[in-house]
Point group: C2
Chain length 417, copies 2
């Protein structure tokens, strides 16, 4: 595998001062890894000329490709553009093409072009300009001594669009990448080390030209197989064969392949089976509805939700009995059963899921500590329930409640319950 050495530089005082979490270098790392290149270092520096010049020089000494984000805004604290012009010995000059792009972008938003916006059309002469379809700061591509330096905006969705549409294809062409093929097997409901135990023998049997990577995130683990070689057809076939032998080992945990998300998979299953879904959310506070509706076209199977945060709404709207709430509490199997069954009837859907728990930070008791979550799934015939014990972090509890709810529905739709 030809490992082109890559460094990533993120520029911005706000990252150094801990005000902005650097997700850009994380996303870029993943994309670079998929290209078969090797990220050898990431550096974050502040918005000062000397830091920028030094970091670019050092990275250029170690790597063949330097990817930068940040410091391209229209304000005075954004120094990346003049610094790079200086570093590469280029003049700055006004570009009518860039101004046209900036103007078109702002006009499409119904906004006027201000003087700071106009300044964004002043660019280093000799840099290849990368259009920004989601903003006003253009990206730049520099070449020096056979090495490539790319500067992109720090706003994540501007950088991601620019990188996906133009930078990655251009890098593939420039570095004449060897062939590389990825297949990702997405799992949910099993931890990394349990998964590793189950598939150890299979993993040990992988040939040298197929690598396996475990990519864990909360509640899920992605298994990525990466094949290298010079014949794409053979590589694809080899990977497909390995996936076939992997499947029976972990079938019930696999929810899809490659970029499919759990909420997309659940949507596909509902669509294929011509079923509809409604929700009754308490502790998850609308997050499960948000996950489901983040999928384009979800209106074809998702009807709606009741976010019954207050017990009065659980009773008045959802028809949960006062006795149930008094005897068992809002976080109980009995309550989620009534929530799901009533929501299903009221929303007129085939399925309804309910979620009630203690997300934190307060509200926990000895018997029901923070992180206790009850789920129910009603289908008109029967109602199944699950209790999960999560942690103490509110944000993670909300997220994992959502993943557990979607996985429960997935298992029901796959008939693997």
């Amino acid at each position: 595998m030809d490992n082109t050495r890559v460094e990533i530089i993120t520029i911005g005082d706000e990252i150094l001062y801990g005000q902005t979490l650097d997700t850009n270098s994380h996303w870029i790392s993943g994309e670079i890894d998929k290209l078969g290149f090797k990220v050898i270092r990431k550096t974050t520096i502040g918005d000062t000329e000397s830091s920028i010049l030094k970091a670019v020089q050092e990275a250029g000494e170690r790597a063949q490709l330097v990817l930068m984000t940040g410091g391209l805004g229209p304000t005075n604290d954004d120094l990346t553009k003049p610094c790079l012009a200086k570093y590469f010995g280029m003049d700055m000059s006004f570009s009518p093409d860039v101004l046209e792009d900036v103007t078109a972008f702002l006009t499409s938003k119904g906004r006027e072009v201000t003087e700071p916006n106009r300044k964004q059309a002043i660019v280093p002469v000799g840099a290849k300009i990368i259009r920004n379809k989601n903003g006003t700061a253009p990206g730049m591509w520099f070449e020096k001594d056979g090495k490539i330096y790319v500067s992109m905006p720090g706003v994540p969705h501007e950088m991601v669009e620019m990188m996906t549409r133009q930078v990655i294809p251009d890098l593939r062409a420039y570095f004449q990448t060897g062939l590389i093929y990825h297949k990702v097997v997405n799992t949910v409901g099993i931890g990394e080390s349990w998964l590793a135990d189950i598939i150890q023998e299979w993993e040990n049997g992988l040939p040298l030209h197929i690598r396996l990577a475990y990519l864990p995130s909360s509640g899920m683990v992605k298994l990525r197989l990466t094949a290298t070689g010079d014949n794409m057809e053979t590589m694809k076939k080899d990977v497909a064969q390995r996936v076939e032998t992997l499947k029976p080992l972990i079938e019930q945990y696999i929810f899809g392949y490659d970029n499919v998300k759990l909420e997309e998979r659940v949507g596909q299953l509902l669509l294929n089976q011509k079923k509809t879904l409604g929700l009754a959310e308490s502790c998850s506070g609308g997050f499960v509805s948000h996950l489901i509706t983040s999928v384009p076209g979800s209106s074809r199977y998702f009807k709606g939700s009741i976010v019954s945060y207050d017990n009065a709404i659980k009773m008045g709207w959802l028809g949960v009995r006062a006795d149930t709430l008094n005897e068992h509490g809002a976080v109980s199997e009995q309550t989620v059963v009534e929530m799901a069954e009533n929501a299903r009837k009221m929303l007129g859907t085939d399925y309804a899921i309910s979620i009630s728990g203690i997300a934190g930070t307060d509200g926990g008791t000895q018997e029901k500590p923070v992180g206790t979550v009850w789920l129910a799934l009603a289908d008109g015939q029967s109602t199944i329930t699950r209790k999960v014990n999560l942690g103490i972090d509110r944000a993670i509890n909300i997220k994992l409640s959502g993943i557990n709810a979607l996985n429960l529905l997935r298992q029901r739709l796959m008939e693997i319950l």
Copy 2:
């Protein structure tokens, strides 16, 4: 400015390859900033001896304090400890004290001490050991040529506990520091360049010891004032004065200061005014409910939501008239008015916000393109509406719908509508 210069090094292939998001250096940055130290660079490197030795050396040349995380685990790919022993010319030796700590920790979890665990008690002779109360890998404090190097585990909650309990107090004791003071002014509803236009004169009038930075993110811009000096009281007073002269220029856009989030600010306002909130969401699909309930204690003012994704739910549940939907469509001023007014009555809240729009990717028309979003806010007396024209990205449209909805409520509660 004589602030103690700090560098952070995070060690781990999983960060370079995009598998793990580096939240450690983000958290550490914020803490270091609060100490009045100045983070000048962050570096991420992989688990190789040469990378570690080189990065530590370089950081030590630039900074007075080097904070490291990662590479301290019990497995063979964790190299930080032997590398640091080598770098500082120390022997490695078994420490009964550390083994006692490791044993006590594992025993408390009902686990046995394995051979790899035992190895964790082998530490560089001469390093000051930092106890790990949440795990088995001890931290280490090294001193060389008047500079301090601290190595901590990569597991976030182990590092955070260690840093909070021991490292920060020890750093306070060790270093004589210059002073730095930040004040962040959070704005919503105005873009970076428009803001820059409005406050240009004010910005030009800032004294040399107060710097301004623009920190934009979707829908919001943070303005950060950073003062340096040797008298904290004067610095705070100087910054407060500048904020006072800034305020009247952009009053209607300011939603709070420092780390406050928009959803927290809206929650505070509701709580202070003893008002309750309900929602009727269509295109935002539960995201606004999620934002509001992400705040601990939100159950004190948030009652619930109806996510009426399907028109049948809008009619059957929310009582939007069929005529309204037929004549004006689901994405219309008339529909959001009925949604908000009916939701307010049904949920029994003081305020109700409704959102209906075309999030995308499909569903747009010539007259109502993707990104068209109507909002309404009902308070029982009157109902105000807003139309916003967003972009083509579904995820961003959902996010910006949420920010616009919260901002509309904020403006109402602040009586600046």
